[in-house]
Symmetry: C2
Subunit: 202 residues, 2 copies
């Protein structure tokens, strides 16, 4: 069983992924992939992360939800990172029973028919989630946050479109799209796991 979780920034996609992996006994990959790719390419983790998120062109003010500092990038090894990403994600998937959050795993693994989830939420809900997780000394206005959401998701969108057929967030590229606005993620995980188990039997 291979599951991929794509997500809007702030929608709780990582929480969905982590809890779902636990529920189904799958190995969970998120930042672990960045570390593996960095080791594989001898590049800085912050740089690898920025390439995988947005092609290496942006340095975000946002730190919450991401623990890796950004280090100034030279554009040259962008393709090295993307090639390493493909190799590593395919190698992980071959071992089976894994859940991968982000990193374009849905398109990289399309021939292996993963169950592809897209997690999203409305702006008010994403802002509330980010505020709840932000460090105490971080104070962004709603407007600043929305601008950053747009930039971060825009980076994901671009990279996805480089690799995939469908647009990022286009329902045609997913098996289930889950709106986390006003729901308690934890409470729906057992049912979500059961849905996927049955859907993948076909």
């Amino acid at each position: 069983m291979i599951i991929t979780v794509s997500r809007q920034f702030g929608s709780g996609g990582r929480e969905v992924g982590k809890r779902l992996a636990d529920e189904l006994g799958l190995t969970y990959y998120d930042k672990e992939l960045v570390t593996e790719i960095a080791e594989h390419t001898d590049l800085n983790e912050g740089y690898v992360n920025s390439v995988l998120e947005n092609g290496g062109f942006h340095n975000y003010a946002f730190t919450f939800g991401r623990s890796m500092p950004f280090v100034s990038a030279t554009p040259a090894p962008v393709t090295d990172v993307l090639v390493a990403q493909q190799k590593i994600i395919k190698a992980i998937a071959k071992k089976g029973n894994c859940l991968i959050v982000g990193r374009s795993a849905d398109v990289i693994l399309k021939d292996m028919h993963p169950f592809r989830i897209f997690v999203y939420a409305d702006n008010a809900s994403k802002i509330a989630r980010c505020r709840a997780r932000a460090p105490e000394n971080e104070h962004f206005t709603d407007k600043q946050m929305l601008k950053q959401f747009k930039e971060i998701d825009g980076g994901r969108r671009k990279l996805h479109e480089l690799l995939g057929i469908h647009r990022w967030g286009d329902r045609a590229g997913y098996d289930l799209m889950m709106n986390t606005t006003n729901i308690d993620i934890k409470s729906v995980i057992p049912a979500l796991a059961e849905y996927i188990r049955n859907a993948m039997k076909q």
Copy 2:
């Protein structure tokens, strides 16, 4: 509990709705609404149906999945039908515990916060589903079927946009979007029901 099911033509949305209503003990509304509206407005059921599906402007060659013959329309009472639809759908929802397929119930009932599902599938899967349900003497090519899908869903889209904020099929307007390609609908219904029960607790 109020659930609305919007669906692409041929995606099995009606099957999802029927089975889900059974599983959750909800009253199911689909064609029943057309009958009620026709009685309320003294209009022909075929005409009411065509207004609710596409604004009354089209007469489809497709008959499968729809048992009501189309009768020539005068454009005048279109708004009568739409006003009656809103009244009847709101009255039904006030009684509670119902599941409504189509008929823009998701937008008409937005203030009552229904759980809004969108059901979709890829073209190959929709063609196969329609062929399996078609009368023996009906023979459409794939191309003819795809053209009709586009027209029927286009009608739903237009009517939805007349009433709603979000575009028809835009994830922002739904709580869960379900791709039925390659899944056995029946097998996922109990998990889907459980997901909704927990999501609606919030």
